[in-house]
């Protein structure tokens, strides 16, 4: 296992001096024909890639008016420069959101603005050449599309959309990222990112049912492909594989059990994640999301509930309806789709669950807002529900809750350092450095408030933190899902289920 240099964490998040190309060495593994072609992308870089790339940019500018606006309106005010966790962790100028976007803007000016066409040098317009493409491949894979910079941009420029467009253009000319395209291929082929075939999934769920029975004495079910269930639960596939993810899965199952609401998991749509978004592909996003709607119809469920997965909730909340809607075949009394936190919160409000907070008395808990949930979605009927509902669940499940510094939570939350399709080992150097702002804020509550557990609701964040926090001397057991806390506190059999 390679050792990665671990930055020194100070007591405050400081803006570092700019350095040039500190991360220029770190490009991801390119996708090969084996993974690219089944996606409908060229298996290798096409011969006339410059022309094709520019054409694709032109196509996207027409298709997405927002992209053109974002490329046009930046005034280089600099408000975003120190807002990116990757800049704060790496000091690389290209990891300042404005500089990252400039990699595309300078090409855009060259081919799509009169001044750039005639006097490129005067307006710093550049050709889409080999050097530029290498920079694109490197630095558009050092953006986790977390959109923290957008919160601070006076024009609301969404840098994530620029990153998505860049990846879409690169895929179109055969320059893809192996991690994302391989995973999307597995979803299309086997139903989930991990590539868990149905018999393995079935065995895993039965194993977890036994685990819950052994530890609680209650026959809590995790049904698979059960037609006629009330709810289709769509969880990230890491919930069927990793620690601490499975603890939340068991938590969801206990909530359904205790509420007396039947649910099912689908083997065909056994994945909430949608990496189509990370590579900017509308088609793949739609195709991945379609599995869920098809299964909701086929299994004749009345409700759709999404598990603890950050970007999945963005896709579900913001895009499912336009991608594959309308959901008029579902029960109109409930949000479609509904987040598992919303679902559990609603049951608590209605008195359907009994939670014994003392079950978590050994824990002093903080909450990490996951970027896609925080900045791209909502939960419940009130503005800010995506911040309050998970916190309410934590407060309902334990006695000791402490928020981190206000500049690092809610809409200003820092990315875990592994989102947006970057949770891959070859980018570990970036992941280790990108987590610095979060670690700084976390260490502070660990010292001040003796926090020993960080709850969150995203499969990527869970995997990233359990991997990189130990490098900072923080044990991986400190990370877990909100429903892990619910799972510890929920009293099974304490009252009759309320539907």
């Amino acid at each position: 296992m390679a050792d990665h240099p671990v930055p020194i964490v100070t007591d405050d998040i400081k803006t570092p001096l700019v350095k040039t190309d500190t991360m220029a060495h770190l490009a991801p593994y390119p996708g090969t024909a084996k993974h690219m072609e089944p996606m409908g992308f060229p298996g290798e870089r096409v011969e006339n890639w410059q022309q094709k790339g520019i054409e694709k940019l032109g196509e996207l500018l027409k298709k997405y008016r927002s992209l053109q606006v974002y490329l046009d309106i930046c005034v280089k005010c600099g408000a975003c420069t120190d807002k990116c966790h990757y800049y704060l962790g790496t000091q690389d100028a290209h990891n300042m959101p404005v500089q990252r976007a400039e990699l595309m803007r300078s090409v855009y000016r060259r081919y799509f603005t009169p001044a750039g066409k005639m006097f490129p040098d005067l307006v710093r317009a550049v050709d889409f050449d080999e050097e530029v493409l290498q920079k694109w491949f490197t630095y558009f894979h050092q953006c986790s599309q977390c959109r923290r910079c957008s919160v601070f941009c006076p024009f609301g420029i969404d840098t994530a959309e620029i990153t998505m467009a860049a990846r879409e253009i690169m895929n179109a000319i055969g320059v893809g990222h192996k991690y994302s395209v391989e995973i999307i291929g597995k979803v299309h082929q086997l139903g989930n990112n991990l590539g868990i075939p149905k018999p393995a999934l079935k065995g895993t769920l039965e194993f977890l049912e036994e685990e819950i029975l052994d530890s609680t004495g209650h026959d809590v079910r995790l049904p698979l492909d059960q037609e006629g269930a009330e709810v289709l639960l769509v969880a990230p596939s890491a919930d069927f594989f990793s620690e601490p993810h499975i603890q939340s899965l068991m938590g969801y199952a206990k909530v359904f059990h205790q509420a007396g609401i039947s649910f099912t998991i689908s083997s065909y749509a056994s994945e909430a994640a949608n990496f189509g978004m990370f590579i900017g592909s509308y088609e793949h996003q739609k195709k991945i999301a379609k599995r869920v709607v098809e299964q909701a119809r086929a299994l004749k469920v009345k409700r759709l509930v999404v598990g603890e997965c950050g970007h999945a909730w963005r896709v579900a909340y913001a895009f499912w309806n336009t991608l594959n809607g309308p959901f008029d075949f579902l029960d109109p009394r409930y949000p479609a789709p509904q987040h598992i936190c919303e679902f559990t919160h609603d049951l608590i409000q209605r008195g359907a669950l009994t939670l014994d907070k003392s079950a978590n008395d050994n824990l002093r808990v903080t909450f990490h807002d996951s970027c896609n949930v925080a900045r791209a979605t909502r939960m419940g009927p009130k503005a800010g529900g995506q911040f309050e509902i998970p916190r309410d669940l934590i407060r309902a499940s334990c006695n000791h809750f402490f928020d981190m510094d206000e500049d690092t939570i809610r809409e200003k939350t820092f990315c875990c350092g592994g989102g947006g399709g970057l949770l891959t080992d070859e980018l570990m150097d970036l992941r280790v450095k990108g987590v610095v702002p979060r670690v700084t804020a976390l260490k502070r509550v660990m010292e001040q408030d003796k926090v020993n557990f960080m709850a969150l609701i995203c499969a990527i964040c869970k995997a990233q933190f359990t991997k990189v926090l130990p490098m900072y001397g923080i044990p991986m057991e400190m990370v877990g899902g909100v429903h892990q806390l619910v799972s510890n506190a929920i009293q099974l059999g304490a009252r009759e289920g309320v539907v």
């Binding site: 991690y179 391989e182 597995k186 991990l194 895993t204 594989f241 620690e243 994640a273 070859e426």
Partner: protein
Amino acid sequence: MPSFELNGRTYETDEDGYLANLSDWSQDVAGYLAKTEGVEMSEAHWEVVSFLREYYEEYKIAPMIRILTKAIGKKLGKEKGNTKYLYDLYPGGPAKQACKIAGLPKPTGCV
């Protein structure tokens, strides 16, 4: 495609050194892969490897960590059936490092 040579034979791998072909695996290959990972194989290490291979044979996927910990607990004693023990054996993670030595493909996704 990346590869390595061992005893005069060439083995294809992915970029991270995971065997490209499951059937290329042998104890010698596992020993070689363990060395590249800085892992010294003990009897307990081999137990993990053989369970992973058996499970993969049946299900075409690596087992969930908890299934692995339980199986190891059954084989080597209950006090060893936990995640910490597996991480002591394989500091790079039971899912990734142990899979690599067992000749299984690298797990993908949010793991």
